[in-house]
Subunit: 336 residues, 4 copies
């Protein structure tokens, strides 16, 4: 089968013919239809993070497709079902995190497209218990970005405490932000969308943003404080400055949620203001299988729109450049 393979952290991916996987006990093999490109895939391919993948490997953790074969003992899904293969490819099932609703913090987890081979391929293997079930009527090209960008921002909005009558500021309206703001709207909040590009703010307006701020033309902190300050601010922009602005846009008692992973890793937090205003800073990382299922259900109910552009897997290296240079206008999804 065809796959995009990382052989070296300093070289482009290679499109190759590799053996098609076969399912072991509890596993399935999925014929991939749509496979999203997440910024994490680029970090994985470059070996940017402290714990690096073992070479060679196949990236991709937004893989949506049809179950082609199932291994022994699999009862949760069957051939022909449409499933989604997410970042959390496996967790131990018995540690304190797994048992208490926080499998995403399992210290024995295996991530798809990182520890396990991923979905930049015609077929991908997955643990049957850890895939998402794509509801009838959900387009696979919508489902793919929902599988990581969706569940990550959905969880962030959950952690933010957004609810009816909240004011939620979203910093960065791209692949993540356009979903974050929709989840805040679904939860009943009013949304302030902040970006540096008018085109993205136009998109935000179409998707229901109540207020939009171009950070090049206006001071987002001052503007949001004029509205009374945000109950929650969600930073999905890869710039420490956005994190600091998100922090400063809060009213006392507010929550800022960290989601994006800027190359420049450190943010300066003022202790005095954090204490006197009882500010909460909350890190948030993907979501559980239940969060993913909620994301799909919400989309199936027609409450969210996914912006994506189709690409060929053969163009994977050009697509990486497109994302790295911030030229991609929407989530890129490979047709496979």
């Amino acid at each position: 089968m065809k796959a995009a393979v990382v052989h070296s952290f300093s070289e482009p991916l290679r499109i190759e013919d590799v053996p098609k996987p076969t399912p072991g006990e509890g596993e399935i093999v999925v014929k991939i239809e749509a496979s999203g490109l997440c910024h994490t895939d680029i970090h994985a391919a470059h070996g940017d993070w402290p714990i690096k993948p073992k070479l060679p490997f196949i990236p991709g953790h937004e893989g949506v497709g049809i179950v082609e074969s199932v291994g022994e003992g699999v009862t949760r899904v069957k051939e022909g079902d449409r499933v989604a293969i997410p970042w959390l490819g496996y967790a131990c099932g018995h540690c304190k995190y797994c048992v208490s609703g926080w499998e995403t913090l399992c210290q024995s987890q295996k991530q798809t497209g990182y520890i396990l081979d991923g979905a930049y391929a015609e077929y991908a293997k997955a643990y049957a218990d850890y895939v998402g079930i794509v509801p009838k009527g959900v387009d696979p090209f919508d489902a793919a970005p929902l599988t990581c960008a969706g569940v990550t921002t959905y969880k962030a909005v959950k952690m933010s405490g957004a609810r009816p009558s909240s004011l939620v500021a979203v910093f960065g309206i791209g692949g993540l932000g356009h979903l974050a703001m929709q989840y805040a709207k679904v939860a009943g909040a009013s949304v302030v969308a902040v970006d540096l590009v008018d085109e993205k703010l136009d998109l935000a307006k179409q998707l229901g943003a109540d207020f939009v701020i171009n950070g090049r033309k206006q001071d987002p902190v001052a503007e949001i404080q004029k509205l009374g300050g945000a109950d929650a601010a969600i930073s999905v922009a890869v710039s420490p400055k956005a994190f600091e602005q998100a922090y400063q846009s809060l009213h006392p008692g507010g929550t800022v949620v960290f989601v994006a992973l800027p190359a420049d890793n450190y943010v300066q937090i003022p202790i005095f203001e954090t204490v006197l205003n009882a500010i909460r800073i909350q890190g948030s990382i993907v979501g559980t299988r239940v969060d993913l299922q909620e994301v799909f259900d919400i989309h199936a109910s027609g409450l969210t729109k996914v912006m994506h552009e189709r690409r060929k897997l053969d163009d994977v290296n050009e697509c990486f450049h497109e994302v790295e240079s911030a030229k991609a206008k929407a989530r890129l999804v490979f047709e496979i």
Copy 2:
């Protein structure tokens, strides 16, 4: 009456004779018995913070004494009752914070010993609705430190989520820390006490700490991680390094609570680790009237011990030096 008065942010307090206050509508006058010295009093007297008190003023927001007279319309307390005058001297009663259990964030609040004259005096005036009611059998010299140090650390422990089977690390075992660790114990947690001075760690042991770590001899982060990492870490030490160690001592999903106000205001937070480990950083500021009443009830039940040393109000400036140079071994409380 005698009072310690701040006339200038750059000069010592003056012990003076000033007019005794009289209660207006809804107000009471309290004959002070015991008046604690909080580090905030020093900041107030020095004008350290962005919004400064109007000169001249009388500091002190741990004032405990007997109601001597009540103004018109006061029904909540009567002459002869023992009450405590806390930092939160007044709040508006109708803003979103006041109505939703967060009066400590009221933007119209008046702080005792800062906006309102405080308890470094023979008599102090207070709003009847905002004093704490000291239960029978609670020593006024215990009640005084509980009125700010107690409620502040109690609230921090509440915000930390400490509960039975939690592991809670307390950084700094002084006037605040020796109470913080007791509240964590009361909530059922195991406690790791961290300090730089063995004598304070001995005190921590006597007060029930399960583990003690001298940060000069051992690496607190490594030691706490050996125990599995803390569920919550509370930083009451006035050093950004303690905040960073508190952060690093957490396991994934943990919470660090910021309480102390170091002169050096900024702390560096790593975004990557905050996101991947879903860390929560929570600022915490004093507590409400209900929190204060809980603090008194818990003390009346015999569950806490308050370390304090008595001082004369005439020695207020020496006491300030004692605290500023970190020589005070316990909370200082003026006999009045």
Copy 3:
């Protein structure tokens, strides 16, 4: 001024000329524009409840109008502001309930139209701190039902834990239920509307119900269980049977919220099922001033529609009959 006055629990209200109130300290007088009829007014007028109002009195706790005069010390509102006078006319401001966000449980509260004279009159007096502020652009005839029916159901939905992807069943689509279901939708939930009258279910559909069930034609419990069971069920129908069906429509871990007050007061709860399925039964009573402000903000954002019909205060007794015989198709609001 003209008012509808209760002189006896067993006689009709009398339309009378009574002295216009004047505001004391902290009070305001409001020129009423719209005054909603809540079922509680009927209970008040009949003396149905254990603690009865003192005769004579003026009912009405959904009073919306313009501030005509303010008493001494009032700064929160000024002449010309549009305000709403709710059930919670006054609370003590310093008990554990008031301080912790539960003023609706204050044991010293004074209810409008019950302990305090209410809004079935040309003018009504109110405590300035306890009125709701009606935002610009909100029609007083919408604001009136929101002042009790709105905030009561909004709070019930809050207590239910409804959130995106929840399934919420609302039993009874009348003056309360048509709002309850909208608040569940605003919170992101899917809604099952249950009633005995098709016309009301048509209304539910127009207001966004995802599923409707006529309890005369289908078994609501069976139908909701086919959908997977409800995460939350809210009973606003005045029949113990509806409470029992609401309970039975839950899936394990679900919550049923009791809101309505049936004449037949007792409901039978099975202990075994409650324990094994970890069911939560939650009573819910009006809402705080913050809840009310959120209700107004949500309506000002265009997210809710209020069904009401205008009536003349002179027809108050006919209106009571209309409500008691369940003939009213929407909330009745007096034009004043």
Copy 4:
């Protein structure tokens, strides 16, 4: 091996020689040291509940012993480890309950001593991922009652919201109640113990109860209301009257937790009072693996005492009578 086996719901258990189990994949076999008798075992043996066990079966879900052999793929425990086999013998691991911290509500769960053969035997088989790990230094005869009575009451106390300064009433001080009251104390609450037998109240006092009430001599509702009303009441007595008293002992905003399973299944709840006082009624059922591990950790910390009496497995039928006739003074545990 020797086991106590149920062959008929209407006959006594038989002590028999049955084949020793062998571990399949993911399973272990445990040499039982101590095996507690839970009231549920009696219900199981009598076929009291709607879904009955398949005959014949071996009861017992408080089985503590040493791992004797492990099946393929087991890495969590090894031969020689001390483990506890709880009620929740297996759950699916991927449903919404399992993934969100509520495995005890899993609709595919298999209960030990009910669906799976239990621990009234020399050896018992268990799923390796679902046993509790007994910490060093915990006596197996303490661990056995903790495995069901402990975790069940611990969870109930968690659900009750008990915390420092709470007043918690425990109705029934037997095998469950003496643990429930200790967990409330560990969580920082003050405890009112209610029973009909002075001897049990003496035990409650020794275990730290702040107040004791003999329901034959005093009215528990009146006495607890004199104390201000309970924040939470936990009913572990098998009598609907105790449930009603527990309900009535609450102050507004309080929570009653249902734990016990009376033969007489229905309790009457007044709607009016539930609504006006915003009462919460919460069913609670055993606890998760994490709850169980917390129970063991708390016991290993020396914070709880377990009252138990040793019995011979040969006397199992006499022991059932002892429990059914309420003559057992403590949890009975079989030496095996």
